[in-house]
Symmetry: C2
Subunit: 377 residues, 2 copies
């Protein structure tokens, strides 16, 4: 069911095809985030228009609302949100640790308080898998614990727990039409990341995720960890760098052998009036755009850029019209999807590495992802 075929390589960078029950994913791939079974402000038609192929949704959010059993009874997540291409759900671990104010963790699982109504809930590896089986995404995640990357002692404990939980997740998982990925943890500690990569690679899974990055460490630390981890992973499994990232992160990730990315950045920036652009990230609320008749990005093929001026989008923002967020979401997501499409072509041509300096320069002004990333959505 879940074949991964590498079609071209440039040193560690790869392009390939991952087969899923909802169609082939061409990698590297960037997945828009649809936290609550909707990519904020967009219809599935918009997502098809920008050539989104994989959409992520959040186990924690859907478990709390509308409930995974309801989603199952209504035919699963694909049918519920009317997205017929591949989907991925996370394990809920990250959200339990980042969104829930009260939580008690032990080796068995985590008890936490809902951020919506304060009610108490408990996730274990078995529970996370049961929820994800109810949701029915094509790619699902083992339950994991994301540590503060700079706390070495805690990172070691969380990593060990993540390994035990990966084994239990694998044992609990029953649906052959779902690819369960194990998750590598280990903070920014070289020895922990090495151990975790080896352990997760030893499990019988069709793919491998790398968690606990882009959570407050430096760019250099993230790159160092990827440089340690990916050489230890089997070639024939797709590698998913969770919750990453900026255009720069995508380029640097592919360079280090990553195949799958997801991030809320494009839609979150849209809600804050920001757009990816060749001259650097633009805040379209700025008065300088009031009479700007050019599109957000002359080179972009998205509906927003093909149709509207910056002046119009700026007017929508100033007038607090929601269409602004829709148009900026379309553009920002398309920008990252175009970037991975371009990278795939370069890898197929064998020219990716030689294009990296130019790509990094082109996206330089869009690099920062903000000082803090508290949640995946």
């Amino acid at each position: 069911m879940f074949q991964f075929t590498i079609t071209a390589k440039n040193d560690r960078a790869r392009t390939g095809i991952f087969t899923t029950p909802h169609g082939d994913l061409i990698t590297p791939v960037f997945a828009p985030v649809g936290t609550q079974a909707t990519v904020k402000t967009l219809t599935p038609e918009h997502l098809k228009d920008i050539n989104a192929t994989l959409v992520l949704s959040n186990t924690y959010h859907l478990y709390l609302r509308p409930g995974d059993e309801l989603v199952r009874d209504l035919g699963g997540l694909h049918k519920f949100m009317q997205w017929q291409r591949p989907m991925l759900t996370d394990s809920g671990g990250f959200q339990v640790f980042s969104l829930s104010q009260t939580r008690k963790i032990n080796d068995d699982g985590v008890t936490f308080k809902s951020h919506i109504d304060g009610s108490m809930h408990r996730f274990t590896p078995e529970k996370s898998i049961a929820i994800q089986e109810n949701l029915g995404a094509d790619i699902v995640m083992a339950f994991d614990e994301c540590s503060d990357p700079n706390d070495k002692a805690y990172s070691a404990i969380a990593m060990d727990r993540t390994h035990r939980w990966a084994e239990r997740s694998l044992k609990a998982h029953t649906r052959p039409d779902q690819a369960l990925f194990g998750i590598i943890q280990g903070g920014v500690q070289a020895d922990l990341r090495t151990a975790s990569a080896k352990f997760i690679a030893s499990l019988d899974t069709p793919g491998i995720a790398i968690g606990g990055l882009s959570v407050g460490e430096t760019k250099q630390e993230m790159h160092d960890m990827l440089d340690i981890v990916t050489p230890l992973l089997p070639e024939n499994k797709p590698r998913y760098l969770m919750g990453v990232g900026t255009p720069e992160d995508l380029i640097n990730g592919v360079l280090r052998g990553i195949d799958i990315f997801d991030c809320v950045l494009p839609t979150r920036l849209a809600r804050h009036h920001s757009a990816f652009a060749p001259e650097g990230r633009l805040n379209l609320m700025n008065a300088s755009f009031a009479r700007d008749e050019s599109p957000i990005d002359e080179t972009c093929d998205c509906y927003a850029c093909k149709t509207f001026t910056r002046a119009y989008i700026r007017h929508l923002i100033v007038a607090k019209e929601l269409l602004a967020g829709t148009l900026l979401s379309i553009h920002n997501l398309r920008a990252l999807i175009r970037l991975v499409e371009q990278i795939r072509v370069y890898i197929a041509e064998g020219t990716f590495e030689s294009h990296v300096p130019e790509l990094l320069k082109q996206w330089h002004g869009n690099a920062e992802r903000g000082k803090q990333r508290v949640e995946r959505e």
Copy 2:
């Protein structure tokens, strides 16, 4: 330029074609309202998908933000908001009277305070026309004064002023590619409405608007005024009933010879989670829809109904996801556009009058438009 050809009649009900520089309008027509140069939450593609043909935008709002001169300099309203089909702007009079807290009116015009920043502005008939010429809609309105319908003395004064302002608007208007409509006022007073209909009908305009209805009077009073007014109007000019209305109002309006309607009701209801439906207006936030796998309306051909369940839309509402408003706006607007499309077929067949009881029954549960209508958007 502005030919109106009646293609079929059923007593007073008519179907026809009004030619404009941006294409033919088949009447009766319902116009979605795009107050600030956007029909809230929808793209122009969505509007084309629901077969919207005419879109209204508000002179008062666009004058204040982004400014009519900016819109003119960027190529006019059609280009600014990328709507290539016919457009209509109102005169700004209604908004000045309903939205502005401070206003001073005399026979020359109105001084008012912006509801956005409290700045002072002045509208005269000449100013309203100048703004509307800058905006560049196909159909524009004479400057008018909308009175409290139950205040007979004030209604008489406002009517007289509206007549003088109509003459001045006509004199000020220079663009041959815009159809300037005069507006009939007169509250709910039979004698005033008679006088106003005769006066406005005597002017050389390609169309006639009826203002000051659906502003707090009863349904019966509105019907009575239409029964007085439309028989006094020339057959060969389209008649526009401003700011109306509910499905029931559309049926009753067409029955009394109205050709053009606009109302914020469909998009406003969408923001309040309400949907037009055969069993009556639904509040989709209701828990009873949590597992409802049917579409909003089985008989509807809109994207929302063809694609999503009530359960999914209810989830979006509860989760405060903006896509809910987009989907409900698509459906509610399509519902009224389908209604006028159906009415046109009945008139062409010569069966409209015999279908009226059934149509009124079908739409009965969707009839109320709320106790108060303070603004057109």
